[in-house]
Amino acid sequence: MSQLAMVIDLKRCVGCHACAIACRAEWGIPVAYKRNWVHRLGPEKTPHGLSYTFYPGLCNHCDDPKCVSVCPVDPEERTFKDPKTGKTKKMAVHATFKHPFTGAVLIDKSRCIGCGSCVEACPYGARYLNEDLDDPKADKCTFCVERLEVGEQPACVKTCITKARIFGDLSDKSSEVHKIVASGKAVRLTSKEVNIGPNVYYTGLKRDTYLLIQKCAPHERKWENVKAPTRRDVILAAVRRLKTAV
């Protein structure tokens, strides 16, 4: 199975924030929310020396996406197409799902009830509930699959001024992402407590990846505390959707 993935090279990243803004521009994200961000880490002492590095973050499109498993929307059968081969597959999915051919975790906006469960569940804080909308919906990075379909790169990759973001299909052995990940040089933001197979990888100097994992790997199993929305919430959401549809 294919799995879209990204490797961010912290040796190349200068922390310029172009990625964050290009994403915002491309998808018109209101400033209260973010799909893509850059945090500064350090300067701080590490066992490998003083580090000053960055956490360029986005949805990890995890192998075991907890945001998907908490979605309370009843599964519905959908037909998925492999963008590479054209092969199709039928599968029943919640309003948010992991695409069987690309591995991208996506949201079916027309079915999302805006309950916010997935937002709460994500240990990376990669999702938000867009309350700017009359009918609030969950939203997040899509790996720009909409752009990939027409032969474009993800907006953050296309603007990256130092080519620090490497994007591709992990299952494709000739891809650069595969080569880097297979070399074992890349790290992921995981911990003993939270290890759900993130597909965003980071490479860099030892001191920098050390600080990144220290500061940014999640430890809280947030999805375990998500309360399922009550029946009342679900009905209210349905009414809201009806109203906005009318």
């Binding site: 040796k11 190349r12 200068v14 922390g15 310029c16 924030h17 172009a18 964050a20 803004i21 290009a22 915002r24 521009a25 491309e26 998808w27 018109g28 400033v31 350090g42 300067p43 701080e44 002492k45 003083l50 580090s51 000053y52 590095t53 909409e146 752009r147 027409v150 474009e152 907006a155 296309k158 603007t159 990256c160 001024i161 130092t162 080519k163 100097l205 920098d208």
Partner: protein
């Protein structure tokens, strides 16, 4: 190089040109690829691409504006551009929010309250321009032409500068870009190498370097796309990086050797390094012998500057200093000694410091070779006299330029002299200021003095995009079109990937805003000046494109940009420099002729007085100067600055990360509140903040009072004796938390060679700034 070009204006030629019909077919010409047929595609997909040139900063990357239904939705790099390809930085991406900023100046304004109060009435363009012309004539008639002064920066200022020039003032170009930034570096390299190795751009081949030296250049914190990407390419190919900086900056984080130098002692380090490579035969003997003059004098002059001499001055470990210079020397001649850009640090030694950087590059033979300093590639373009408004200023009896600083006139009039003359009337009265493209109150040291000077003026006007502090202090404010709403000029790029391109409008001008050419043309008419006779910028662009065999139309058919082959390197036998001797001047005679040091000497700048730390500043990658703090996306990304404070010092002061503090400088001026970033990544004798924050204009609704302004606590400055730039790193601060003034502990011993700054008597210490 004289910056001034006294062109004779050929009015008739321009009039004839005006009569010609050009084939420019409208402003919304798509680039080859995109059709503008959006058909419900999401995001920017399917948008119409219009090639143009960015001006979120002065680097001016080629861009495409992506337009859907007449609205600019996104900006990307122009894929045709060999310099940046599809890439633009955070600011370039955010041009969209400059155009659609609700705080923009929308129509001409006339002041109704006191100067600086921010009370306005909307007026017509006719009235605004009439009033400006009336006042310019009045002041000129009463006090003579030199009573007019123009502060300028960026592309928008070009035409208006011509008007001041034509009226005969010597004060027609007073760019903070030179007197607050690059001037000393530019002068040092012009005299050493014969060209502007560091001016707007830096001709330094980091991409092909085997080692790179950065002396307080914060690449990545200041972002110019091609510059950063070449630096990164060099590093990823294995270049060794040496970073000299009192603060562990973003490039320090990538350095192989990081030297946390004591501020103000860089020249001591450079002299010791020169001595070390001469003593140890680690310089390029062939290059020095054949292509440099003055070597023996330099050898003699630096003899006493040993590593052991410099180490306590610089507060560095001798073995680290040696390791670094050997690392650089081993890469010679492919070693990139970065010439630096912002150079107005300490006043007295600034030109010399950059001269020393040039000398080090020369000693390594790192000039005209891959990986070293290189030569610009001339890209052929025409010059339209219609873009000029020529005139030859008469020299006043006592000039603000030559009579104070021997090399000032290469750049204009020092801003500090104009401000002093406006205040005192000495040596002649300056009574009218025009300002374009620069927020002088957030740029020039001692803004309190600047405000006092403004109060004494008969008239002050500005052309601006946003209601900055400077607009607040103006009598008439003209709303200018942004770079995305206007034709402008032909832009050529003469670095490693040369090209020619043009700026053209991506969307129609919003509100009542006008292009700088239109404004200058209307004003010139009212002043009876025979210039700017063609109807609009397009005619000028067409004339300037002609020698390259291009027109607006043909250029747009090629995607808005045409590339050229670079010619950056020279064979040694072909090396020729535009200096008096045709060689690199290791000792500059022209400086000696003016009783200035021909070879750099270490001139100590005062160390912090007890209880104070030196204030240093820099950039964050999402902002340009103080220009972008109100941009919705950029503001959101980095709304306020932080004060970096050494962790050990903070511990002794009882301060912790995130604490909100106020700074008080040596003259008693206080900053706005700012939050602490406590880190081991800064020396204990300095504090650092990003420049440009802490706006004092209420009309900038997002930026107003967000973070603290460095500029408003930079009140002590020393002029560069060579060209009159004013220093910015000669100020010291204490920290106030709550109502308690906390002294900064003295953790960095000061050797006897370095005198401490003497605090003035208490009567000067007042709360003229923020109480």
């Amino acid at each position: 190089m004289k910056r001034r070009r006294f062109l004779k204006l050929s009015a008739s030629a321009c009039a004839a040109l005006a009569a010609l019909e050009f084939q420019g077919k409208g402003m919304f010409r798509p680039a080859a690829a995109s059709t503008g047929n959006a058909q419900g595609l999401p995001g920017s997909l399917g948008a119409k691409d219009i090639p143009s040139v960015c001006e979120m900063c002065f680097w001016r990357c080629p861009i495409v504006g992506k337009v859907k239904n007449g609205r600019l939705v996104k900006i990307e790099g122009n894929p045709k551009s060999p310099a940046n390809d599809t890439r633009v930085c955070a600011r370039g991406n955010s041009g969209v929010q400059l155009v659609y900023d609700p705080d923009r100046l929308k129509y001409p304004l006339k002041r109704t309250g006191k100067r600086g109060e921010g009370k306005w009435a909307r007026i017509s363009w006719e009235e605004a321009l009439d009033e400006i012309a009336h006042n310019m004539n009045k002041v000129k008639d009463k006090y003579g032409p030199h009573a007019l002064a123009f502060f300028d920066h960026g592309a928008s200022a070009e035409f208006m500068r011509g008007i001041f020039n034509a009226l005969g003032t010597e004060n027609y170009t007073n760019e903070p870009a030179f007197f607050q930034c690059v001037g000393p570096a530019a002068l040092a390299f012009i005299k050493t190498m014969g060209y502007v190795t560091s001016g707007t751009r830096q001709y330094i081949d980091m991409k092909n370097a085997k080692a790179i030296l950065l002396v307080a250049s914060h690449i990545g914190e200041n972002v110019h796309v091609s510059h950063v990407s070449e630096y990164m390419e060099g590093l990823s190919k294995g270049a060794k990086l040496v970073v000299v900086d009192p603060r562990f900056s973003a490039p320090a984080g990538k350095a192989h050797i990081y030297l946390p130098i004591r501020p103000g002692t860089d020249t001591a380090l450079l002299l010791a390094w020169m001595n070390f490579i001469i003593e140890n035969g680690l310089y390029d003997k062939d290059f020095v012998k054949n292509h440099c003059t003055g070597f023996n004098d330099v050898k003699e002059a630096v003899k006493k500057c040993t590593i052991e001499w410099a180490a306590p001055i610089c507060d560095l470990k001798p073995e680290e200093m040696r390791k670094a210079i050997v690392m650089l020397a081993e890469a010679r001649p492919h070693v990139a000694i970065h010439p630096g850009r912002h150079a107005t640090w300490y006043g007295k030694g600034d030109t010399s410091r950059h001269q020393a950087l040039g000398m080090l590059a020369a000693l390594f033979g790192a000039v005209g070779v891959p990986g070293g300093l290189y030569f610009p590639t001339h890209v052929k373009k025409g010059h339209s006299e219609c873009a000029e408004c020529g005139g030859e200023p008469e020299t006043p009896d006592e000039s603000l330029q030559e009579d104070y600083y021997p090399f000032a006139s290469m750049f204009g009039s020092p801003t500090s002299k104009i401000i002093e003359a406006s205040l005192s009337g000495d040596p002649y009265p300056v009574k009218l200021w025009g300002i374009n493209g620069v927020n002088i109150l957030q740029t020039i040291p001692d803004p309190y003095k600047t405000m006092e000077a403004i109060k004494k003026l008969d008239f002050i006007f500005c052309e601006e995009i946003l209601p900055t502090e400077t607009a607040m202090w103006s009598d008439i404010v003209l709303p200018g079109a942004t770079y995305l709403e206007r034709y402008d000029a032909v832009y050529t790029y003469d670095l490693l990937t040369p090209y020619i391109t043009i700026r053209q409008p991506v969307i129609k001008p919003m509100f009542e805003v006008k292009s700088p050419y239109w404004i200058a043309r209307q004003l010139a008419k009212r002043l009876g000046l025979e210039c700017f006779q063609v109807k609009d910028e397009k005619d000028i662009i067409e004339e300037e494109l002609k020698p390259a065999g291009l027109s607006i139309d043909s250029l747009n058919k090629k995607g808005g940009l045409v590339k050229f082959k670079a010619h950056p390197y020279r064979k040694r036998k072909d090396l020729k420099f535009k200096t008096d001797s045709g060689k690199i001047a290791l000792s500059v005679e022209a400086f000696a002729d003016e009783d200035l040091d021909p070879i750099p000497k270490f001139i100590p700048t005062p160390a912090p007085p007890k209880g104070y730390a030196r204030l240093i500043y820099g950039r964050v990658p999402v902002h340009t100067f103080s220009r972008t703090m109100n941009n919705k996306w950029l503001h959101n990304e980095w709304p306020e600055n932080q004060l970096w404070l050494n962790d050990e010092a903070a511990g002794k002061m009882g301060l912790k990360d995130g604490d909100e503090v106020i700074l008080e400088n040596q003259d008693g001026y206080k900053s706005l509140p700012i939050k602490l970033k406590v880190t081991p990544g800064i020396r204990a004798d300095v504090v650092y903040m990003a420049h440009g924050y802490g706006s004092r204009s209420k009309m900038l609704t997002k930026a107003f009072e967000k973070g603290a302004s460095d500029q408003f606590i930079i009140t002590e400055y020393v002029d560069d004796p060579f060209m009159g730039a004013s220093s910015h790193r000669t100020n010291f601060v204490r920290i106030i938390k709550g109502s308690k003034i906390i002294d900064v502990p003295d953790l960095c011993p000061v050797p006897p060679e370095l005198p401490r700054f003497k605090l003035k008597k208490a009567d000067r210490v007042k709360t003229g700034g923020r109480k």
